[in-house]
Amino acid sequence: MGEVFDLQLINTAMRQSTPLILAALGGLMSERVGVVNIGLEGKILMGAFAGALGALFTGSPWIGLVCAILVGLTFALIHAVATQELRTDHIVSGVAINLLALGLSTYLFRQIIVPLEEQGKSSVVQGFAPIRVGWLSEVPILGALLTDQTWLVVFAFLLPIALWYLLRTTRWGLRVYAVGNDSVKSRTMGVPVKRLRYLGVLLSGAFAGMAGAFLTLASADQFRENMSAGRGFIALAALIFGRWHPIGAALAAFAFGFFEALQMRLQGQPLFGVQLPTDLLLMLPYLLTVIALMGFLGRMKPPSDLGN
């Protein structure tokens, strides 16, 4: 069994789960203030595209990251205005945002990046370099886990702890909790509901944009059509699985990333003497979420004022 389960597998799982964690926490920021966000997928895709484009034309992954975050914020702003000002149904707005992102990123990709490739120029971008671990590489376990990781991975694993602390202890965090559970009462008590909702939705855009940037600036070094490949929906599943809690959502996202890593590692190899089809492993996060929704793993209770 040694050749399937080792620290390298965990190392890959950390990398695979980074965009899922970032996007799931983005979804958390939005849903905890009562705004349903099924547009994560689209924001990841646009973030991936903007990140690649920014890095391609400036040669700097940092500028790419900033572009990705800005585009994520823009798409989040559409969702915020649609749901808060125009009182559009949250799900319809999210569906439209996913479609818009798919159409726009593919359109712009074909108009900007494909012609470059046809001219024989490279569309590979300068991504983030792995962090230098130095003496840390000597530390058992931790050294092996951090080898070849970018700082975004470290950030994604620290973010849930930070958010958990902030949501628990700060005035902002308590207000978020209040708005998510009863926006009408919160308003009566003088909580600026709309401002908190805008902030939550915008944060979700920033995190989802970062998740997208990770795909092109720290994972694939190249944009490809529809490369988010359902990660926004897996992130949504992780959010439910983690019961709308930052640590829970991150753990669920890590578990789903682990399945991806395992699937990459197995590639047709038998596990415990059983040949597991790739498709079934890829299906696992969705299947587990359905089982969770059935209530076999305890009641999955969303913030009570979600979607209003």
């Binding site: 349903v36 099924i38 559409i78 649609a82 125009l86 009182r87 559009t88 149904d89 799900i91 319809v92 707005s93 569906v95 439209a96 945002i97 479609l99 818009l100 798919l102 159409g103 726009l104 593919t106 359109y107 074909r110 108009q111 926006s183 009408v184 308003r187 009566t188 509901v193 359902g230 929906f233 949504l236 599943a237 439910i240 089809p277 498709d279 079934l280 890829l282 299906m283 969705y286 299947l287 979420t289 359905v290 929704l293 059935m294 209530g295 999955m300 969303p302 209003n308």
Partner: protein, 345 residues
């Protein structure tokens, strides 16, 4: 007709034309060329040297058959207050099962085709029923579960087609072509659009009758309008919700089966799922009314075929249709589907 409604419709049309014009110009095409290519693809007019009007209409009616059914799928669920994002998965399951029934030997000719289509519809219906059961029994939100079931269907059908149902006569990841006894006939000598189109239109008309002329339809709409009030008024709302999702799945599954028994002739890796998502736009644009959905399905398919013609003749990206569709959904949702303002929120 209501003046305000008319104004909003005109504004919507202007926004769509504005976005479309912008995208044509950004693709490096003059507006005159762009709109002529789109009209040629959508209506078969003005005359084109590369595309005959029959080809254009074939393409429009083929797409319309599918998005009409997925549009009805989304609409029947929405009429009962449920959001079916799962038409794509239900369509896949319908197509998969139909492709399996369609290759079975020894089924008499007059039975084989209806059996194949029925099996596809049934598979879609069962795939739609599970999220409905989760909703009614467990309170699980149908949007989340139908999204999950889309992905489960995607991987399940992919696994089946490469492992168990692959055409033994080749290496391609696809099923064997359905037998002749299970094929839908073309509508005419010149039109390759099949009788599936007629079936889809009949479904829309039949659904309209049931929805607006029967007690069942009344109860379904009452459930969607206000579940508590419907329950108090004696409507079995849980039953109606489950039945609406069964029907939603059946419509989408039938779309998949019609594609398998008609245009594509088999199930294959990468079977198109975007028709499922187009159904959401078609239903919203058609205000969930089967008659208006006939119209919106035609509009969406014409837009699709038109931009596809622009793409194949000038190289402009075909995603123009997707962008326009997204803008249209946002506009319709923001103008016509606004929620009632809750006091104090």
């Amino acid at each position: 007709m209501d003046r305000k409604w008319l104004g909003q419709a005109v504004l919507g049309a202007l926004i769509v034309l504005g976005v479309l014009s912008l995208l044509i110009v950004l693709s490096g095409q003059p507006l005159s060329v762009g709109y002529v290519k789109i009209l040629q693809g959508a209506l078969g007019w003005p005359p084109s040297e590369t595309l005959t009007p029959l080809d254009a209409w074939d393409s429009v009616l083929h797409d319309m058959t599918l998005v009409l059914l997925t549009g009805l799928s989304v609409a029947v669920a929405l009429q009962a207050g449920l959001f079916n994002i799962g038409a794509a998965g239900q369509l896949l399951m319908g197509a998969m099962v139909a492709s399996w029934v369609g290759v079975q030997q020894g089924i008499p000719a007059p039975v084989h085709l209806p059996l194949t289509l029925g099996a596809g519809a049934l598979a879609g219906a069962l795939w739609g029923l599970i999220p409905a059961l989760l909703k009614v029994w467990r309170g699980a939100h149908e949007v989340i579960s139908t999204i999950m079931f889309n992905y489960i269907a995607l991987y399940l059908t992919h696994w089946l087609v490469i492992e168990y149902l692959k055409d033994p006569a080749g290496d391609a990841p696809q099923t064997a072509p359905v037998l002749e006894t299970a094929q839908l006939a073309p509508l005419g000598a010149f039109l390759s659009t099949t009788w599936g189109f007629v079936l889809a239109v009949a479904m829309a008309l039949g659904f309209w009758l049931v929805l607006y002329r029967t007690v069942w339809g009344y109860e379904l709409r009452a459930t969607g309008a206000n579940r508590d009030a419907a329950e108090a008024g004696g409507a079995p709302t849980r039953r109606r919700m489950m039945e609406s999702m069964l029907l939603a799945g059946a419509f989408a599954g039938l779309a998949g089966a019609i594609e398998v028994c008609g245009a594509s002739g088999r199930f294959f890796e990468g079977f198109p799922t975007d028709y499922g998502f187009d159904g959401i736009a078609v239903a919203l644009l058609g205000a969930n009314n089967p008659m208006l959905i006939l119209l919106s399905a035609w509009v969406m398919s014409a837009l699709r075929s038109g931009t596809y013609n622009l793409h194949s003749e000038t190289g402009a990206p075909k995603e123009i249709a997707v962008i326009v569709q997204a803008v249209l959904i946002l506009y319709v949702a923001a103008v016509y589907l606004r929620k009632q303002r809750v006091e104090g929120s």
